[in-house]
Structure formats: structure tokens, C-alpha cells
Symmetry: C2
Subunit: 462 residues, 2 copies
């Protein structure tokens, strides 16, 4: 499940590229990549990635980077976890009737992949017996950030119990009581037999399973993607799998797992799971700290200096800066909501915009002009397009461009420039084996993204 | 005196453009501009600006912006305040033998220009009687950031006294005692008769006055600037006017002035003098604050968000970010010293580099390429130059360029591009009445600033 849009890790995580796709982990991997890698190989079938259609290209690119093949199923809209689980179960049971499923969130950190896989084996075996197993995590502290699960008395296996009840995020005192009584954190990851889950969904949330079956039946293959039928999917209630099934079913079990786990729900929790220096700081990127303790400082390029502070989070990107009390970093969500209401582009969009063919980034803008850096992947092609209000100058600074202008095709090499007059039909293609990098200078009365007439597009965009 | 290089207001103030030239004041004026404007008009002669030669163009441009004519005297190196005061006195006494001087720092904030001018009248009259008057400020709090002056018992005029003694920056308890006993802050601004100052310098610091006379005698007029003779100036001791004269002379007096004053010695002191909102915050530029109090947030373009903090300073520029405890913001000086030792360019240089002809700013850089935005003032001309390792593409995005390439002159208008092959001799001139803006794409094996052969330069640079 990789469809979420985490705003609590703003400004790094934004709607157009949310946290599960960000290289937050040491080694530069995203949690999405780490998640699919953890369940690749022996014992696991080809993963089914369920994500929002907006993330299809980044999803495909990140899978290719880690060499994992997957079915990428696109949700036409956000519907919470029950519809995603239902769609997964429908697809799995079509592969084989007795399919066992792991429903995993793509934005979690897991410290020990081997321990995780061993636990998957355990809950898989219990799932085969008809249990719907939730992955519980033994608390390392009385956190108020997570929901808890009370394991029942009936033992299903080693560290596995029938599930007694779910409880919401508690206050500190309640959380201490829970920890003392052996409650575990609810990680939101599950194992079940596809058939059992579909049975329980049919019983407790029939509209969800109906919509899932119809949207899979009506799905369209589009390039490498499986597009769920929008009308059928729209009919599904928006509900979490906990509310739809887990709190109602008598088949629920829980494994009390002991590996390091975090849902990285805030910058504070990222600080908690990262290696810290002797002052308790996590410092990433170009940063300088002086007389500073227990803080997270992360820069994506700007020199970021912190002086004389404790328990702060400082995160800087090319177009936005967040400074927050580490223990109140959850409130970033409220701030982002406010900034969205104020229609600030930095609240939702990254400066670097990923496209199926690569990415672009604005590097300068002024009255009647805009400058972009455009990187085109080897073999990729931008749409055949036209602008009404701007001319463009393309200077190739790396690689080779095949440029079509009003039907005439010409190759441009490093240090060569093409001029595209207003209104001309043009297309850029990278015929080479290395990235093509272009500096695009736009000049005209209007340089907005929406002045684009797409005449033809290999990625079927309008 | 406008030659200082304030690092405690980093990242806005840097060696290449220090705080006195930054638009820190409401209304977008620099303290340098406010200082010269305050002493312009009736009762004041043409100001003598003494500054470092590195600041000559920004100095001239800022004077032109506020419409003040001044003699701009260039120090070949930094020598503290006594040599500057001596040079000023030498120049003033050459204008007229009985000249009265005000020696003012260019980086101070003064709240009430009228009160200031009235006090200048008062200390001017006392200076004419032979006193060397220091401008003392009645403390508004027991600050530990300023040196203090004890007024003597002998009254020289209304609020004016013979000076009893100077004391260094005290600790808090001592400062409270000073305030109770009627001490005033030492503002470092003075009034004196040129002749008296030269006499006292001759008596207490003869090497300073000798060097001043020789460096003025050997000065060279260069465009609008007066360049002090480097060898003569180099011979001067590096000493403050307080140590050289004020603590020794029997002619010192002090006026206890009552207007709002600050030397803006740190971000904390800027917070103290700016209008604050009801939460005690000063918020400037594109910023969003949530649950934040008594803080200074200043952005030069990046969206800057602060959540759940108190007493912090957050200052963001295009290439650097400072986050500091407001009460420890003086330590920024130490941080900058460390970053200079680490040879981080952001410690000393701004991203936007001012030149006599306008400014340029890097907007993108990568292997074998660099992109710059270049703005050329109307009528201005860049040097005739050549590069060994890079070709350049110039796209005009605003105004008109007169471009010379290997002797051929051609006009380029908005949306036209010129190509400069490696090794060609080229020059850019703005023949128009509005700013010329060019996007320059450099491509080549080396794009450093030092790959430039200047063949001819109207600003006499090498």
C-alpha cells in the first residue's frame, strides 16, 4: 500500500512526492523500495503495489532502481486502507485460490529484515489456518503516537495470540499502563488468506468488496500499470481496514514482534530511529551545528547552520525551510493544511517535478521569462507539443537531443542550442545511452505550465 | 565609517556585502543609506564616506539611490577606527581649517532622526569649544552587549558632561549598577573639531596621524573614488579611536542622548528594535509561523515555516539558512569563523555578486556546465574578455544587449540569443534605458570565475 500523502514530513514529503518515495533511509533508499525489497525473493510472489495514479511513474522508476518487478495497481482516488486491501485480495485470489497475502504499508521503517521475514513466515502459517494476523510491535517506550493492541489469552503460536481488542492512541499515563500489561503497537501490517479476507469483507463491509471486484474486473492495462475502473472504485466507502474488518472479525490474531519498527510519522520519529552523534544530533547534508543537542538537521543543498538550540528539527529544501520543536513536529500537519488553504505551491508541490520521461526544475523566473533545467532519461520522449505564449531556447549541456521542430528532426549535441518560436510544434527525445540535460529559457507573455497543447504523447497524457 | 565586515548577521551579512549595506530597515533602506541621509542637507557639509575598497561600487550605488553626493575614500586594508577618524579629520581640515566633524558608524540604527540632528547641533557647538564629544545613549536596559561611559560631574551643557571614564562590556549585575549610577552606552559616534582631533592624535598616536596625512597626500582619484595611498596607509597602527585617543585625552565629553539607538550587533538586537506582532514575533518575507513566540523569522525568498518554538532566530537566504537561539545569536560570529576556516563559500560570499555594471547570480551548476542570471544596468559595460575553457550562450530575456564578438558589434533584443565560442573575445553593453537581463549558459571543461582574461575594462579592474 503506497498511496498515502504524508504531510507531517513536509517540506521533504509533499503531495506530488510523498514520504514513502523519499530517500529517507541511510543508503539513499526510500521506505517503498526497502519494503518491496524485503518481500522479494524466495517465499514471496510478485508484489502487488497499490498506489495513487499520480505516483505511477515514480513508483515504476523506484521499482526499476531496486530491480523488483511488481504489478502496479492505480487507484483513481484516495479511499483509505480497506478498499486497497480488498483490491489486493481480489488480485491475489485470481492468481491462486489459496493465496496468502501480506498487506504492508510502504512508509514504515523496519530495522531487521531477517527478523521481519521470519515473522512473516510465522504469520503466514497462521494465516493459512484461517487467522487474520496483525503485526504487533512490542513497545520500546509508552508512545502516545501509536494505537495499541491487547493480545488475548489464547496462544496461537510462539509470540502469537488471538487478538483481544484494539485501542486508540492513548495519553501518556494510559500508554504506560498498556506497556506494563503487555499491549503491543498496532503497526497496520497484516497477513491473511485472500479468501478469508474476502469472506470477512463480504460479511462486514460488502460494499467495499463489491467495489473492489468490479474495479478489478473493469481495470485497464495502461503501459505497465493496471488502472482500476474509476466508476466502480468511486462506489467504495472510504474506510480503514481496522474499522471495516479487524475490529469486528473473530478471526483476528496478533504477533508480538520484537524488531525495530517506526511508521516515521513525524520528523521527531525519524530522529528517534536514525543513528545520532554524541550530542544526540542527526545531521544530514550540508550543515553546520554549534552548541546544539538532540536535534535533527537535514539539508537538501542549502548550507544549514544551527546555533545554541536543543530538541529542534531543521529541514531545508531548495524552496522551503521547516524549523520546529522536535517534540511538537506532528503539528507540521496543521501548518501544511493552513499553507494549502493559502494556496502556497510549496505546500503540495516539489520544485523538482517528476515526469515519465525524467524531471524538470525551475531555476529562475521573472517578468516574461522562466528558466528550467530538464533531464530526459535515455530513450525517453517528451510529448509533441505547442505553446501559444512563449518561445523557447534549448541549450544542450549534457548528452544528445533529438529535436523535432515543425516536422523537421535534428540532432543537437552538448553546447548546441535550438530555438523554438512561439506556436511551433516541437518534441524532444533522448536517443542516447546517458541522461540528456537541457537548459530551457522561456520568453513570452505567459510562462505557466498550462500553456501547453499536447498533440501526441507516448505516455498517454492529456 | 562604512568599512566593517559584520559576520554576526550572517547569512544576510557577509564579507562581500556586510550589514551596513543590507536593507535591514523598514522601508528597504540600509543603515548606511539612513546614516548619510540623516546628515544631509542644511547644517551639514558633503559627507566623507570611508570604506573598504571592496565596497566601492555598492557604496556608490547606494548613495545614488538616496540621492546623496559624497566623497568616497577607499581604505586599501582594514585598520580599525582611529586611522579612519584620522583620515576624515585630515580631509575635513583641508576643506576648511576650522572644520567640525561628526564621526559616525554606518551600521547603527537611530530611531528619531530629528532628535539625533538636534543632539548633533549640541555636540557640534561643544566641539567648536574644543571638546571631543562622544554620543552616549541613555540605557533602556542593563545591556551586557555595549561598553559604558561614566559622565563626570562637570556639566558642559544640557545633558552634556565632561567624560569621566570608559568601561568595557560588563556582566549583568555590573550593568545594573551602571544603569543605576547614570552611566550611558558608548555608541562609538563622535563630534570634534578636525584640528583638535589631529592635535590629540599627534600627541597620543603620532604614527596614526602621520600615516593618515601621507595616505591622503598620496591618494589617487579613480572614477568617483579617492584611493588612499596603500603604502602610507599600511604603515598605520591598527587601533580603535577609543584606545588611541578617547581614553587618554582630557578633552573628552559625553552627551547623554535619549533617542532609540542600536548597533544591530546580532539578530537578537535586530529583533529588539523591530516592530513585533502580539506574539512578540518579527516576521519578514515569505514565512509561516505556528505556535511560535518572541522570534525573528526573515526570508529572502524561501518559504520559511516555524512551528512550536520560542526565542529563536530563523534567517533564510537563497543558499544558506541560520537557526539560532535568539539570546545566543552572538555566537553566529564563531560559527562563521569556523565555516570560513572550512572554506565554505557561503561563509564569505553572497550568491548574488555585485559588480560595477550590475550583478550576477548562479542559478544552476553541474558537471561541465553552469547557468547564470546577469543583470546589466542601463549604460553599463562588462569588460572585454575571453575564456579558455568554456563557450557561452546568452539569451536576452529583458532589455537590449549590444554584444561585441571578435570585433563585430550586434544588437540583441528580448528573446534573441548569442553564441560565444571558446576563445572568442567578447563584451556586453547595455545601450538602453532599462535593465538588461541575460541568461548565460556556460558549457565547457571548467566554469570557474578565474577562467577570464580581461582585455579591457571601463572600471579599471584586472
Amino acid at each position: 500500500m503506497a498511496g498515502g500523502a504524508g504531510t507531517r514530513l513536509w517540506p521533504v514529503s509533499r503531495d506530488t512526492l510523498p514520504k514513502q518515495f523519499i530517500a529517507l533511509l541511510d543508503g539513499g533508499e526510500s521506505t517503498f523500495q526497502a519494503t518491496v525489497r524485503r518481500v522479494s525473493g524466495e517465499g514471496f510472489d510478485r508484489p502487488v503495489v497499490i498506489t495513487n495514479q499520480d505516483f505511477r511513474f515514480i513508483c515504476a522508476e523506484q521499482l526499476a532502481q531496486v530491480g523488483v518487478d511488481a504489478d502496479i495497481v492505480l487507484e483513481p482516488e484516495r479511499k483509505d486502507s480497506a478498499p486497497a486491501v480488498a483490491v489486493g485480495a481480489v488480485i491475489a485470489s485470481a492468481r491462486r485460490e489459496d493465496a496468502l497475502c501480506l498487506a504492508l504499508a510502504a512508509d514504515h521503517l523496519i530495522g531487521d529484515a531477517e527478523a521481519f521475514r521470519a515473522d512473516c513466515q510465522t504469520i503466514g502459517e497462521l494465516a493459512a489456518k484461517g487467522h487474520i494476523m496483525t503485526l504487533g510491535i512490542r513497545p520500546t517506550e509508552p508512545s502516545t503516537e501509536y494505537g495499541y493492541i491487547r493480545p488475548g489469552a489464547e496462544r496461537l503460536g510462539e509470540n502469537a495470540f488471538r487478538l483481544d481488542r484494539f485501542v486508540e492512541k492513548p495519553d501518556r499515563a494510559t500508554a504506560e499502563g498498556y506497556v506494563a500489561e503487555g499491549y503491543v503497537w498496532n503497526s497496520g501490517n497484516f497477513a491473511f488468506a485472500a479468501r478469508v479476507m474476502l469472506d470477512e469483507l463480504t460479511r462486514f463491509a460488502p460494499a467495499v468488496v463489491e467495489a473492489a471486484r468490479a474495479s478489478v474486473a473493469g481495470a485497464v492495462r495502461d503501459l505497465d500499470f493496471i488502472r482500476l475502473d474509476p466508476a466502480s472504485f468511486a462506489a467504495s466507502p472510504k474506510i480503514s481496514i481496522d474499522y471495516a474488518v479487524m475490529e469486528k472479525t473473530s478471526r483476528a490474531g496478533v504477533l508480538a514482534a520484537a524488531f525495530e519498527w517506526s511508521d516515521i510519522g513525524s520528523w521527531g520519529s525519524l530522529h528517534a530511529v536514525k543513528p545520532r552523534d554524541e550530542a544526540g544530533n542527526v545531521v544530514e547534508g550540508d550543515a553546520a551545528v554549534l552548541d546544539t543537542r538532540n536535534s535533527l538537521v537535514r539539508s537538501e543543498g542549502l548550507l544549514t547552520a544551527v546555533v545554541g538550540l536543543e530538541d529542534v528539527v531543521v529541514v531545508t529544501t531548495q524552496d522551503a525551510v521547516l524549523v520546529a520543536d522536535r517534540t511538537k513536529a506532528g503539528a507540521v500537519k496543521d501548518l501544511v493544511a493552513r499553507m494549502k488553504a493559502e494556496k502556497r505551491p510549496q505546500a503540495s508541490e516539489h520544485l523538482r517535478i517528476f515526469r515519465p520521461w525524467g524531471w524538470y526544475q525551475r531555476i529562475d523566473i521573472g517578468p516574461r521569462f522562466q528558466v528550467k533545467h530538464i533531464t530526459v532519461r535515455p530513450g525517453a520522449t517528451l510529448s509533441l507539443q505547442r505553446h501559444h505564449h512563449r518561445a523557447e531556447h534549448w541549450v544542450v549541456v549534457h548528452g544528445t537531443a533529438e529535436v523535432t521542430i515543425d516536422g523537421t528532426v535534428k540532432l543537437y549535441h552538448e553546447n548546441e542550442a535550438a530555438y523554438l518560436p512561439i506556436g511551433c510544434t516541437h518534441r524532444m527525445h533522448n536517443p542516447g545511452k546517458i541522461d540528456l540535460k537541457i537548459i530551457e529559457v522561456q520568453v513570452g507573455s505567459y510562462t505557466g505550465e498550462d500553456d501547453i497543447v499536447r498533440i501526441e504523447d507516448v505516455y498517454a497524457r492529456q
